[in-house]
Symmetry: C2
Subunit: 411 residues, 2 copies
């Protein structure tokens, strides 16, 4: 283990931004590209740390907003940080808390996600003025954001200095600058203003940080506008951050997201790792690795598991468009096959679709545990396969093979 | 592994009914006395089978009523029985379904448990006529019971032949005769009538059973009346059951339960294992082992875990009268100690009271998983200790040492 944070690029594919690398942290290394499971409340839902380690998870992301509210950053600090508190010995990343402070009072209740509007929610924001987010539970000013807790309505304040201080108390290996994540519904003018403010906050984050072994990541914003993204890449990339994250609205479709990455990644200094916030699904991993992303975090594998959506390779009989079997369906009631006969996870080696359906229907804890094991195994194995294909140069073929079996995208 | 069911008594303590033994089944042996965790829905809540095995659980009990309703006995039968369905390779016992059929529509909603009335429920049955149970969702007649599902209100019927047939489909190693478990509020007259009916049902169960490797247990009833219990012991003990269970109301206090056992166990043929249904807590294990019980099943360790009640030795600082730490209490918010510093379980070796409290407050799955691991480890280790003390003759001292630290019993 290294005392300090560093990033090493092992190999880049010819004519592509895709790359193999390694992040070293005081709590061990992360071979990249890699997916980091999300442990919002200092636990990856349903997973004992020993099981998460056995799945090969190299790191995880935990959420500053949630931990600040409960149990409180001071409690975690008394334990010497998150690693000790939750007994997870491998690298941890924390976000800045800004996204949740802004969004739990606004975006979530309006059905807005990182890419466009959540399916099934319609567009409740149609006709809203630019800057709608300021009208909700969170109030943004030049200094930071005031918000109310989603738990008890109590008033709180986050700004760059407070966010950095909390993240130092939490003690993650990789921490994120405090930024404003604008809505996909925000106007160009609002997004541009927010971007300038985020840049001023980035400088304040660097000034606020103390001398810890933590790596501070800057965050590129700019919504879905090329000039704003390029301006942000230039500014954030010029600052002495140890890592670079891409945040904010990534547009209204996956194609929009790919364009944002194409505007963003090539301008970033290549000596620092690149994290894509809050993405992704299986196809996203291929598309974003191709565009040079090194690490991902996303609740999808764990949240899908809790809704009985278990990953299978695209093209599997009965699979949904998102590449899952929906285990609650009656069709599985007597099916003695595992979710994926080719999968080596504990769930697939030991349990049938019928048993899993029974557990999901009965709302049994074991359903969520086994589903999470399977989905995380699936994602982490896919990342291992992707890394191997970058090592031997076969990534383009691997991507083509996986995505060719996918249903045509609905959008 | 034995093809057939058998019971061997290794040793009996002088002047006591307490004994060490072994039950052999087609799915392995159970060293007795032993506690069987309850897996109502074909899963011990929150436990992967591999973790339950690692805890040393030698067997488990699953519930016929629940599995009959969901997923259905025919589904389990298609898998070749519960062992395959839930991937649990060690012995399984199923109950007859009668207790739930009678009680889910009556006893549960009236707050009646196996010993008296649940604390905090008052006595909603005061003034009710004897036989009140027949007025609820279940209707008992000479042949069996008609009841409505607690899930969807659909009508169902159980009688001795149907119960045995379902239990054969479920394929447990030890199955139970279909009986009527009378309420602690039932009169002598009603209990006596129910007992005679239960005895007629016992004969029908023996006649209904097919030639399977399953061991059929008869059930002694008779409520809290000595003459009824003795009549039942004589009758049930005279039939060719392979095991003997003690069921029904065990009175209104723990002292009542001890008296019932004192009237019951000495008259039972000693060549067959004795199971006490639905008991117990830590002190119960000592008292009932002393009185000659070989196996127990009870939801307490698993249910307590899900209510943040984690077992500690009697007399532990801050422990409840029931011998638990209540992890939701504020007092644990910053406590870096494990639940029990002397405990070797995964929960105690790796996590603090503060972290567990955080998980319980946040309603995280991991709270229930870790709590269950601890409570089952506690119970199963206690049973191992009790077995060792029977082997070397120190059981009386062990019991005295454990129970001397207990708070005086409230009743």
């Amino acid at each position: 283990m290294s005392e300090h944070f560093s990033f090493t690029e092992h190999r880049r594919l010819p004519g592509m931004a895709a790359r193999r690398g390694r992040i070293d942290t005081p709590h061990g290394s992360i071979e990249t590209p890699e997916f980091l499971p999300v442990g919002t409340m200092a636990t990856v839902k349903g997973m004992m740390p020993r099981d998460l380690e056995a799945l090969g998870a190299q790191g995880m992301l935990s959420n500053t907003y949630h931990l600040y509210l409960r149990p409180g950053a001071d409690v975690v600090e008394e334990f010497g940080g998150l690693h000790n508190f939750m007994n997870w010995k491998r690298p941890v990343m924390t976000d800045s808390g800004g996204f949740q402070a802004f969004s739990l009072g606004s975006a979530r209740e309006h059905g807005v996600g990182k890419i466009g509007v959540f399916p099934g929610h319609g567009n409740p924001l149609a006709g809203r003025p630019a800057g709608w987010a300021e009208e909700a539970l969170a109030h943004i000013d030049e200094d930071g954001v005031s918000f109310r807790s989603h738990l008890d309505g109590s008033k709180h304040r986050l700004n760059p200095e407070i966010s950095i201080r909390i993240q130092e108390q939490l003690g993650a290996d990789m921490i994120l600058a405090f930024d404003e994540c604008t809505s996909p519904m925000a106007s160009y003018e609002y997004t541009a203003q927010a971007l300038e403010r985020t840049h001023r906050w980035a400088v304040r984050c660097l000034e606020a940080r103390r001398d810890t072994p933590q790596a501070l990541y800057g965050i590129v914003q700019g919504g879905e506008w090329q000039d704003l993204r390029e301006r942000s890449v230039e500014f954030i990339g010029s600052l002495p951050f140890q890592g670079l994250a891409i945040g904010g609205s990534l547009g209204k479709s996956k194609q929009d997201m790919h364009r944002v990455l194409d505007w963003t990644v090539p301008g970033l200094p290549s000596d620092r790792p690149r994290h894509l916030l809050g993405i992704g699904e299986v196809d996203d991993l291929f598309e974003c690795v191709e565009r040079g992303i090194d690490t991902f975090d996303c609740v999808i594998p764990t949240r899908f598991a809790r809704t009985a959506n278990l990953f299978v390779p695209f093209g599997t009989e009965g699979a949904s468009k998102r590449g899952t079997l929906v285990l609650r369906h009656t069709i599985h009631a007597r099916d003695q096959r595992p979710v994926d006969p080719d999968c080596e996870c504990y769930c697939c080696r030991n349990f049938s679709r019928a048993y899993l359906r029974h557990l999901f229907k009965a709302d049994e804890i074991l359903a969520y545990v086994l589903g999470t094991i399977h989905n995380l195994h699936f994602m982490l194995k896919l990342m291992r396969t992707i890394r191997a294909s970058l090592d031997d140069g076969t990534f383009p073929e691997l991507k083509a093979r996986w995505l060719s079996r996918r249903d045509p995208e609905p959008a």
